[in-house]
């Protein structure tokens, strides 16, 4: 059985176990038999567009809460009275504007793909993460829905492995029925090895 990022292209891994990556460091660009790099954006699926709305609304709510908190602290604890309104408003506005602008960026960076042997995800605006989670390492899969997600008809999928960093990988912003079918699919695919 072949496992690779791209099924049409076998990885260089099994041919010569010692050479490939060793040379990759010294000169990565000319590496001939390197496995095809998983940088194929049009092959990745993006999240449901509604997730942008979800993130913006979440930002709005976060802004309201922190703004109210900051305002209340300044108004009552520092006894500034009605003047506490302005810093509170400022915090609210900053959070809201930030999440308004940030959410589309996040959306644009998010991509995932469920393949024959693994789930591949790429996300992150500042810290960019490219992860691969083999089905055979799966412990279990959950779907989760918060109030906002329920209202928008969205759900997120949480994939658990026995690892540390990758112990939990979340794919947010999936249409509800997609998330559920994906969960069932992963549940079926993920029956393999004794994971540790």
């Amino acid at each position: 059985m072949q496992y690779s990022y791209n099924r049409s292209d076998p990885p260089g891994g099994e041919a010569n176990p010692d050479e490939a990556p060793a040379e990759a460091t010294t000169d990565p660009t000319t590496e001939a038999d390197a496995p095809l790099l998983p940088t194929i954006p049009d092959e990745l699926r993006s999240l449901d567009r509604r997730v942008v709305v979800q993130w913006r609304l979440a930002g709005l709510i976060r802004g309201l809460v922190t703004g109210a908190l900051v305002g209340a602290v300044i108004a009552f604890l520092f006894e500034q009275g009605i003047d506490g309104l302005w810093p509170g408003l400022a915090v609210f506005a900053a959070t809201a504007i930030f999440s308004f602008l940030w959410s589309p960026l996040r959306f644009r960076r998010w991509g995932y793909r469920v393949r024959d042997a693994d789930v591949f995800v790429r996300y992150g605006v500042l810290w960019r993460v490219t992860s691969v989670i083999p089905h055979r390492r799966l412990q279990h899969v959950d779907t989760e829905r918060g109030p906002l997600e329920r209202w928008l008809g969205l759900a997120r999928i949480v994939i658990y492995t026995a690892g540390n960093r990758g112990a939990q990988t979340t794919i947010p912003g999936l249409a509800r029925e997609d998330a559920e079918s994906l969960r069932d699919l992963l549940g079926r695919l993920g029956q393999g090895d004794d994971a540790v």
Binding site: G13, T25, P28, A34, L37, N164, D194
Partner: protein
């Protein structure tokens, strides 16, 4: 160490067993420690009314704790049926736990100094499931704990070999000593331990605390201000140095003494499928880990030890390091080994990995640039801030720039990775250089992470995630070129699958052979320690 598990009492493990009655005493001591000390502190420090209220509160809290301890002792039962360890406890809320022996990662016994005084011991059984032991039998008579441990190990071996658990194959496998620590080595271990600094700092803090409490320290007869004026700056520096040296020497001595007590008689042994260690003078500890369950091996070299050609080794198994959680402190598989001995020790765990032949490859050269920027820019900012605030004198700080550049170079020199057949090796750290060795078939997930700073230099970090416990960082190859990181990710990914296929095939062969004797087709898959209400 009693190595005679095949006595008749071990057979009694099949029927329900209780903890030793002294459990009550130890539980009482535990409750006392939890409540008496706060009570005393409150009693000494608080005013009259507050004091009484606080004492009552503590008493009200302590009563349920005592009650729980009694109930625990009265209802706690354990037994082994076939290939499962069964634990139950609870009066109203019954708690039953089943631990399949083939899921067990570690079996430890330990004795605190107090438990030793009473001839008691504590037995811990761990699976991969979590942070705390899945079963802690506190306390058992020492012989009993050893017998149960030996019996659990025997049965687990039987399960591993696919033999009917009740059946024959009861011969304990031959044990071979892998390493021992002599007294001289223990002293060396204590002397190079970072405990020195910790103890020294703690002593210093204690002294300050004592001074603040106004414990009698003879006041100088002269007016302190005159004294200050009389001493030159040189004198003060000398005094400070003397004080620091004094504390360091004391810390050093204490470190040697405590380390020696703790690791006294350290012995590392191997059977065919397990590795075990035992040590300790006042409190004794024994830990066993199944080699098949080892997730990674780590070689750690602090600067000092590196200069002396010494190192520490750790074996990581899922859920817990080998004996890692004694009092929340991380312990080593072998706390001290000479660098020359490492290849042999590694081979004891990973038979097919030749540590000596590893060629550690450098990461991308731009990693040096990145480190240089990371170390130098804060220094420049500090210089600018200080000279703007305090005057141009502080520009001398710029003289430190060569140091940061050299530090960046050292940082870069100690980053690296290697690929060996069946393994991936990642190394990082100058002050403590850590070399991870991860078998490809233990890789869980692979991540490439690019921080904003790395991105500017086209660098990325590859994280090789395994099921090692304790929420640690794990193996990572830091600052590869971005494309190299992705290539390595893809390569490791493909090889992981190949390795897993090989392991599965090998296991099928073994299972096929065992199947002729009996047919234990246990479900491989999920289910660590199953919990049944």
């Amino acid at each position: 160490m009693p190595s005679d598990p095949q006595t008749d009492e071990s057979a009694a493990i099949d029927v329900e067993q209780r903890l030793h009655p002294l459990t009550l005493l130890f539980e009482a001591l535990r409750v006392a420690r939890a409540f008496l000390i706060p009570a005393l502190i409150v009693g000494f420090t608080a005013g009259d009314g507050v004091e009484r209220f606080a004492l009552w509160t503590l008493a009200v809290l302590a009563v349920p704790a005592i009650f729980r301890s009694v109930v625990k002792y009265a209802t706690y039962r354990y037994r082994v049926t076939g290939d499962e360890l069964l634990i139950q406890s609870g009066l109203l809320h019954k708690h039953r736990r089943i631990i399949p022996l083939d899921r067990v990662q570690n079996i430890d016994t330990s004795q605190s100094a107090l438990q030793r005084l009473f001839g008691m011991a504590e037995l811990r059984v761990e699976t991969a499931s979590g942070d705390s032991a899945d079963a802690t039998l506190t306390v058992l008579a020492r012989d009993r704990a050893e017998a149960v441990r030996a019996e659990l190990l025997r049965r687990r071996r039987a399960v591993e070999a696919g033999v009917e658990p009740g059946g024959e194959m009861s011969e304990p496998p031959p044990v071979r000593t892998v390493a021992r620590l002599s007294l001289g080595q223990l002293a060396l271990l204590g002397a190079t331990s970072n405990r020195v600094g910790i103890i020294a700092a703690a002593l210093f803090g204690l002294l300050q605390f004592a001074l603040q409490l106004g414990i009698d320290i003879p006041e100088p007869a002269v007016d302190p201000e005159e004294a200050v004026a009389a001493f030159s700056a040189v004198m003060w520096t000398l005094i400070a140095l003397a004080v620091i040296t004094f504390f360091l020497v004391i810390g050093w001595v204490l470190s040697i003494v405590t380390v020696t007590l703790e690791y006294f008689g350290f012995t590392l042994e191997r059977t065919e499928h397990e590795i075990q260690k035992h040590y300790g003078l006042l409190s004794r500890r024994q830990a066993t880990v199944l080699l098949r369950r080892v997730q990674a091996v780590r070689v750690e070299e602090s600067v000092v030890r590196r200069w002396l050609g010494l190192t520490a080794m750790r074996v990581e198994s899922a859920g817990a390091e080998l004996g890692a959680r004694q009092q929340g402190r991380v312990e080593a598989f072998l706390p001290l080994a000479s660098l020359a001995d490492v290849p042999r020790l590694v081979r004891e765990v990973f038979r097919d990995l030749d540590f000596g032949a590893l060629r550690i490859l450098p990461v991308h050269p731009r990693a040096r640039l990145r480190a240089a920027i990371r170390y130098t820019v804060p220094l420049l900012l500090l210089t600018v801030a200080l000279s703007a605030w305090r005057g141009a004198d502080w520009l001398w700080l710029l003289g430190l720039v060569p140091l940061t550049l050299f530090g960046a170079h050292l940082h870069y020199r100690h980053l690296g990775y290697a690929l060996a057949p069946g393994y991936v090796i990642a190394r990082s750290g100058f002050w403590t250089r850590i070399t991870w060795m991860v078998p490809l078939h233990k890789i869980q997930t692979l991540h490439v992470v690019e921080s904003p700073f790395q991105r500017r230099h086209g660098l990325a970090t590859l994280i090789v995630d395994t099921a090692v416990g304790g929420g640690q960082d794990g193996a990572q190859v830091i600052d590869l070129g971005r494309d190299d990181a992705l290539t390595l990710q893809a390569t490791l990914y493909a090889r992981m699958h190949t390795a897993l296929d090989e392991v599965a095939a090998a296991r099928r062969v073994v299972a096929g052979r065992a199947g002729a004797i009996s047919a234990p087709s246990r479900g491989e898959g999920d289910g660590e320690a199953a919990e049944v209400d």
